[in-house]
């Protein structure tokens, strides 16, 4: 551990990785809490995977894949929101289809992109050690946007995730806030892609919030605790992966998963529902 702290003070790439981990923990803690209490993890998974379509197209056109991811994530969120609002009978089938179709588009465009294609695995699994400084600013910007919206509209968002019908009866534009919520989840997905890649995104959105849910009894405390848990897991994951030379993103996911299992057992033994 001391070796890791020592390395952290000396190497810029480790500092960048830690900052990236801490920044994503904020988005995950806040938006993950909404995802967990609203039970839309499957929707978040579909948005995350379909993002590959946007990244592939951007790469093919020679644009920044992150911008492609951002656009694709927002389109996927609006499509899924539209399906839920207007085509509810087929919801799970359509969301599953979007999941696969987005990835298929991505793989085809990446295959047709001329040149060396090492990037595919880093999109799928992330590479926290190679996050450039410009991306750190981009992540910080996304966090600020998410926090500003949650700060301003926390009552409306709570009303919609708690009881949509009641929210509608109170005159809240419930469909708008539901779509806004999905777009914010999409932004969180983009935030995470560089750190753990789009396949592992789901674990870091849901697990810290689900763990926090074992110990607190209000949504805003859940957000705080989930953020702190996420930060701790990023730090431990980085500290474990550095001396062992294991890929950092998957190690962070495993550490988080292990902590979740232990927390669930502890919570269950104390008499709560796991």
């Amino acid at each position: 551990m001391m070796d890791f702290i020592d390395a952290l003070t000396r190497y810029g790439f480790l500092q960048g990785a830690l900052i990236a981990g801490l920044l994503t923990s904020i988005g995950c803690g806040v938006m993950g809490s909404y995802v967990v209490v609203k039970r839309i993890a499957f929707i978040a998974g579909s948005i995350a995977h379909s993002v590959l379509g946007g990244m592939g197209i951007a790469l093919y056109m020679g644009a920044d894949p992150l911008i492609g991811a951002l656009i694709a994530a927002i389109i996927a969120a609006l499509l899924i929101g539209g399906i839920r609002l207007y085509w509810k009978q087929q919801e799970d089938t359509l969301i599953g289809a979007l999941w696969a179709i987005g990835m298929a588009i991505g793989v085809i465009f990446i295959a047709k992109t001329p040149g060396y294609q090492s990037d595919l695995t880093s999109y799928l699994f992330g590479n926290i050690l190679l996050v450039p400084h410009s991306s750190l600013w981009f992540m910080a910007g996304l966090d600020v946007v998410l926090l500003a919206i949650v700060w301003a509209y926390h009552r409306q968002l709570l009303a919609v995730v708690f009881d949509e019908e009641h929210a509608r009866l109170r005159g809240i534009p419930a469909s708008f806030f539901y779509l806004l919520l999905l777009v914010m989840v999409a932004l969180t997905v983009v935030l995470l892609i560089q750190v753990v890649g789009l396949i592992l995104v789901l674990a870091l959105i849901t697990l810290p919030a689900a763990m926090a849910g074992h110990y607190v009894n209000s949504l805003h405390r859940m957000m705080w605790l989930a953020t702190l848990i996420g930060m701790l897991m990023s730090f431990i994951g980085l500290a474990v992966s550095y001396p062992t030379d294991l890929p950092t993103g998957p190690v962070i996911v495993l550490v988080t998963g292990l902590a979740y299992v232990l927390s669930s057992l502890w919570h269950h033994l104390r008499g709560g529902n796991a």
Partner: protein, 248 residues
């Protein structure tokens, strides 16, 4: 004679091809305590949702305070039969009831404003919880409440929005029979300041509280309490009333 608060004309509603409600016309006046009774799946809950503007009629018109239901629903309070939220949602009783204060007296663009709850919002929530005798639950988790306690909290959430008309869907279906008359005594006292529509399957029980009964089984027959006799119940349920009573 003042205008009716709720005016329903030739209303029909279908769920897919299934006729749920057929050609219903009725008026509800200020200060009424109206019981809506009928067999299960007879369309009672659907009628409430149409009045609230949660469903669109296939035919006919509903006017609430002379406007479309969507434009008047902030003047209505609603207590659903089943909660629409999961019981383990991390929220306190106070936070849940405060949601009843959202957008109070706000319309149009004002609904889009961010903001916080005021001290008076919190005072009104406390008062609503006192009125339903649940003020001791204010700091409890919603998930830790019994069925009867939850029903009172949902009623407090509806009261917190200071409604002029209160609609309740089977308010005593999920609670102890012993508490059934407590809830109805409470509704009776609320009736002094608001119109009440309550859906129930229990004709005999509610007839001692309400001043009019609407019987709904796809179509509608409206009657005052004194008109409920064997014939009406026979028309409504299509079978002997004793058998109906045995079902529950």
């Amino acid at each position: 004679m003042s205008k009716p608060q709720i005016n329903i004309n030739n209303l029909s509603y279908r769920y897919g091809k299934l006729k749920v409600l057929e050609d219903i016309s009725m008026q509800v006046n200020a200060g009424e305590f109206l019981g809506i009774v009928g067999p299960n799946a007879g369309g009672k809950s659907t009628l409430l949702k149409l009045i609230l503007g949660l469903l669109e009629p296939a035919k006919g018109r509903i006017e609430v305070f002379d406007k479309a239901p969507e434009d008047s629903r902030h003047r209505l309070g609603y207590v659903p039969q089943y909660p629409n939220f999961s019981r383990d949602f991390p929220i306190s009783v106070e936070q849940a009831v405060l949601l009843g204060r959202l957008n109070h007296n706000k319309s149009g663009w004002q609904r889009w404003l961010p903001g916080r709850y005021s001290a008076s919002d919190k005072a009104i929530v406390k008062q609503a919880l006192e009125e339903v005798e649940a003020d001791n639950l204010i700091d409890r988790q919603l998930g830790s409440l019994s069925g009867g306690q939850l029903q009172r909290v949902l009623l407090a959430r509806a009261l917190a929005s200071e409604p002029e008309v209160l609609l309740l869907d089977e308010p005593t279906a999920n609670i102890d029979q012993r508490l059934e008359s407590d809830i109805f005594d409470l509704l009776k006292s609320l009736n002094d300041r608001m119109t009440i529509l309550v859906v129930s399957h229990d004709v005999a029980f509610i007839s001692s509280y309400v001043n009019r009964v609407a019987c709904v089984n796809q179509t509608l027959v409206c009657h005052h309490t004194d008109a409920i006799d064997g014939d009406v119940i026979h028309n409504l349920y299509g079978e002997d009333v004793r058998m109906v009573a045995h079902k529950h």
